[in-house]
Structure formats: structure tokens, C-alpha cells
Symmetry: C2
Subunit: 342 residues, 2 copies
């Protein structure tokens, strides 16, 4: 499939315009567009501009409301319950994060439990932002059932990613990973490219192993790390539900399609570090890992977040690579005659 | 190696006596002994009575203080900072949990960040207790560096287990897993039995792969789930350090030996569930997993905590299996002429 190498500023401008034309206020459009483009910059195309045409469809279908920042109320001094009112995932999330980051400075820890909000996108950016301002973030979100239980045949769990951000120098520590072996975004990417999957990655809709990405889209992907990864992803699924009253398993909808209200949940926990001194120790420890003896002398030991940071620097200089139909669709939305916003 | 099948009440009585003879108050001895025996009951021999003779040595060496319940202070309304004062891990932990479980009922979420406390033992019991009283627990603890980074040759991370407890019927959801592929307790168990390891489990002290459990004790064990499991275990290591100011990597000591002060950290986060209704939905969802189509018709899909519960019921009836030298050592401590306590 043909790809376009697009300058970052241009991609941002066009994406914002496309969202504004769909009814998003300029600042909300910018928050959403920047998050998608940050995913592209960090080499996470599966969470990048690929998602924008569908999001615009969701706005047009009334299952995403680009205007709201959600309705938040404190259930306790450190527990913010947020009804996302079908808002844009990053808009609702950053509004909630602002509140709990501020609150955690007093209480030491605070949680935001978000329901009824759209797809958060790449979690790394939230973790990085919180860590850059000197706090620790632990974030979970659920998704449609795409992952089979260990020893099972059917998709019954979300890909349930986790992000952890911890302040460090010169770069914050940023973990962002799905509890699936791969993401459904990657499956779609493989299907779009016509590339075969690796053995063990996925089952087809009958619950049998497959290497065909198109079949896997209707089947199930494997948890990472065998029974432990399954157990962990399941723990995140039920923990998010317990805090947000989100839907569970096959009842979850709206993270991939254009028509369903999104009923997954998001959990953000912000904690104050014990001291500034420990941040220095953490930074030194992370450096000692990077400097440690590798199995393959050509592949130094890596720390989560490092590769994404390098990719970001390279891609800012080079521009981001967007598949033709995606870029055409975004441009078409951006070039509509008149904004629909009243 | 010969093993004894010991009645649970007898094992508890003798273990308490051994601890009391070492200077522990009766109630602290009971808390510690019951936790070790619960691990035996749930099939976690690596976290069971095997640990008691060493713990008694630690008390005698002054690096474990069986009398203290720790010194706790609120750093914020929801953040309990605990100096464990070298106390017994479960004694310090349950004292802190009592406080944060109570506090979370007001604040919605509360965290205990514990340093200077001994080995927690099996985390499942903490998760189960909190879930049984209707709250969610997320628990982390670190350990001596036993795990190699993905693509690295040397032990630089703890086995860094995570536990998650969520209320459910008929049984609470209880996840308890190390972020290593296996635990060092299991390596010791294999070494004691003279059994070979599986390929990919461990490196020897030179950083080369080994199947010899005795060599692996001086080497490194693998993270579970490849690069993702490494990233997750590392995230837990730095998150625990950020909250507790615990030591990091190869600076951590006192979780396996008899002489060092234990400088790892423990983090417990307790959260209120959103509603009682969601607990019903979670219970139904967990049952739907158990009832779902398995790959192997003889192995139904399992939910974390189920197997441990079955093992517990079986072992209560049967008695627990303790290796000869361990049982002899505990009995010797229990049969000392006079309690050392003044």
C-alpha cells in the first residue's frame, strides 16, 4: 500500500482541521490530533492517524462528543469519578489528570475512574507528561474482547494495556504495553499489508490457530507471556471494571467500530514520589541497565521508553509515514466546505 | 529428600512455638506462621515453611525484629509512609493494611509505602483478605536482584511480584505472580531435589544459559513473557523505589540471606469499588471464563485463585508436605529449653 511521508506540522494542521470540521472545538481537536501524531512519531502506527477517520465517523454518528470535557465528581478526597459523556478519550483523560495530579500533591495519591469516554490512544504520552512534572502514573484501560484466555478458544478479554511513568533523568521511565502478545492495531496493520502473522499470535473465529491476519480480525489474539500474561490482563479487566463500572469481556464495544457507544473504562492513579533523592537513584539504576553486558554485543540492553524517544527524534526530522487511504480520508474531512459546528 | 506430611494445626502450633522461642510475641508469631502455612496450603512451597529457619536466624542475627509493628505516618491524607523497623513482613504489612483499608473508605483510595521490613511472603493472602472485606488491592514488592534484563546477562532486577485482589462471588479474584518466569524459591526447590531446569529459565554466574539449578542460584532467572515481562518487572522495581525509597537492583539485600538488613520496598494500594452491582457483573464474567470452550477438553479455562483454593481444600484434609531438614529445624527451635523473650 502506498504511503505518504508527511511533515509533522502539516499532519497536525490537517488533522486538527478535520476534527474542527467534524464539530470539535480547536483546543480539543489539537489535544486529540497531537496524541495520534505522537503515536506516529514513536513508531506506534497502530495507535496513530489510522484511527482518525473512524473517530470522525464516530463523531458524525453521535457516539463521540467532541465538545465535552466530561462530568467529574469526587467520590472521596482522592477518588475522582468521571462520566466522560462520550467525549474524546484524550480530552476527558487530560482534564481528569489535571485534577488528580493537583489533588495528589495534598493527599499523596489520587485516582480517576473514567467511564463513557472514547479510546485513549497511546498511553505512553499520559505517563510521560505526569512523570515529567515529577509524579508517578499508573494507568489502565480496557478494550473490546480480542484476547483469548490461556487454554481457551474465544476472545473474552480486552488487550488491556498498562502504562507506568516514573520521573527520571535524562528521560522519564515510560512503560506502555498491551497485555496481549500483539495489539489488534498490529493485526489490522498486517491485514492491510497482506503480511502473515507469526505462529502462536492468533486464533481464527473457530478458535483454531491461524497465520492469516484477516481471519484473526474475527478471532482472538494471544495474551503475552502465557498463563501469567492472561492472569494479568484479566486482573486489569476486573480491576478497571470494579472502579469504573465498565462493561466486561464480550460486552465491551466502541473501541474499534464507528457505531457503538464506548463502554470500556480507564483508570489513572497518580502518586507522589517519596523524595527527590530517590529519582536520582532511579536514574542511575536505569543507566546501569543500559550499560550492562548484553547477550548480543550489537543490541545493548534497553529501558522502556528509550526506543520510542529515539524514533520520535528521527521521525520529527523525517516526517511521518501515513497510508494513502488514511491520508486521503483525513484530507477530505479537512477540506469540507464548512465547519459543521454551530 | 524425605518429606513429612504434617497436620495443619500441628504445623501451626510448632511454627508459632519456634517463633515465640526466638522472641516473637504470640500474636506476631501467629501472623507470621499462618502466612507461611497458607503458602504451603496453596501449593506454594517456595513461600512456605522453607523460609522459617532462615527467618529465625535473621531474628537471632538482629536483622529481623519480631516485636515491632513499624512506625507509620500519614504523608498526605491517603499516603501512609511506614518504616518497618526491621519487623516481620506480614506483621508490618497487616498493620499498614488495617490503616489504609479504613482510610480508603473515606478517601476512596489509599496507599501504604513500606520500607525496612522483612519478606512479605505469599502476596495472595493479602489480596484475598482485602477482597473478602469488599475492597480492591493492588500490591507490589521487590526482592534481591535475581532476574536478568531482556537481552542482558546479569541479574539486575528483583522477581518483583504483583498481587491484585478484587471482590467476587463465590471466591474473590486473587492474582499473585512474580514477574520472573519462575521464582528463586522454585530454583532452590529444584536444587534441593536435584531436578534439572527447563531451557530458557536461567543463566549461570557467567551469564550463559544453564539447566543446573545449583548454578542458577548464583546466576540469573529469566523475566516472564520476554521483553514485555522485563519491562513490567522493571516498571514495578522503579515504581516501588519511587514510593518507598527502597534500594534498587543489585543493592537490594536481605530477602534470602540471614545477615543483611532487608532494604526492599512494599507498596499496597487499596481502592473502593464503584458499586456492589459491579461485583455481581465481575462474578458472572469470571464464571463465563470458567465455562468457556477450552483448547483441551480436559483442562477447563482457569481463573487466578481457583487452583490455589482447590489445593487449599485438599491440603487442609491431607496435611502439608514439609522437607525433613526444614521440619527438624523448626522443631528444634520450638523445643528449645526456654523462650528467649524477657
Amino acid at each position: 500500500m502506498a504511503e505518504n511521508l508527511v511533515d509533522v506540522a502539516e499532519a497536525t494542521r490537517v488533522s486538527i482541521r478535520a476534527l474542527v470540521n467534524s464539530g470539535a472545538p480547536e483546543n480539543h481537536a489539537r489535544t486529540q490530533a497531537e496524541l495520534l501524531i505522537e503515536a506516529e512519531l514513536r513508531g506506534r502506527a497502530s495507535h496513530g492517524l489510522l484511527r482518525l477517520p473512524r473517530l470522525i465517523d464516530r463523531i458524525r454518528n453521535g457516539v463521540a462528543n467532541p465538545e465535552t470535557t466530561g462530568r467529574a465528581q469526587w467520590r472521596g478526597q482522592a477518588y475522582l469519578q468521571v462520566d466522560g459523556e462520550r467525549g474524546l478519550g484524550p480530552v476527558i483523560a487530560f482534564a481528569a489528570l489535571d485534577q488528580i495530579c493537583h489533588r495528589a500533591r495534598e493527599t499523596g495519591i489520587a485516582v480517576a475512574a473514567i467511564s463513557n469516554s472514547n479510546h485513549l490512544g497511546m498511553l505512553a504520552l499520559y505517563a510521560e507528561r505526569v512523570a515529567m512534572q515529577g509524579q508517578v502514573l499508573f494507568a489502565l484501560t480496557t478494550s473490546e474482547a480480542l484476547v483469548h484466555p490461556w487454554g481457551g478458544r474465544m476472545a473474552m478479554l480486552g488487550t488491556n494495556p498498562v502504562a507506568i511513568g516514573v520521573p527520571a533523568q535524562p528521560l522519564p521511565f515510560v512503560l506502555d504495553m498491551a497485555t496481549s502478545l500483539i495489539s489488534m492495531g498490529q493485526i489490522h496493520d498486517y491485514a492491510n499489508r497482506g503480511a502473515p502473522l507469526e505462529p502462536g499470535w492468533a486464533l481464527d473465529e473457530n478458535g483454531d490457530p491461524t497465520l492469516d491476519a484477516a481471519s484473526a480480525r474475527k478471532g482472538a489474539i494471544a495474551p503475552f507471556g502465557g498463563p501469567k500474561g492472561y492472569a494479568l490482563g484479566l486482573a486489569f479487566e476486573v480491576m478497571v471494571a470494579a472502579l469504573t463500572s465498565s462493561a466486561l469481556g464480550t460486552d465491551v464495544a466502541g473501541t474499534l467500530d464507528a457505531e457503538s457507544v464506548c463502554n470500556k473504562g480507564d483508570v489513572f492513579v497518580v502518586v507522589e514520589p517519596a523524595s527527590q533523592a530517590i529519582i536520582g537513584s532511579i536514574s542511575a539504576y536505569l543507566q546501569s541497565l543500559r550499560d550492562s553486558a548484553p547477550t548480543d554485543p550489537k543490541r545493548p540492553v534497553s529501558v522502556p521508553g528509550d526506543r520510542a524517544h529515539l524514533a520520535r527524534e528521527r521521525n520529527i526530522a523525517r516526517g511521518i509515514s501515513v497510508a494513502d487511504p488514511v491520508w486521503q480520508s483525513i484530507n477530505a474531512s479537512a477540506n469540507e466546505a464548512a465547519p459543521r459546528r454551530t
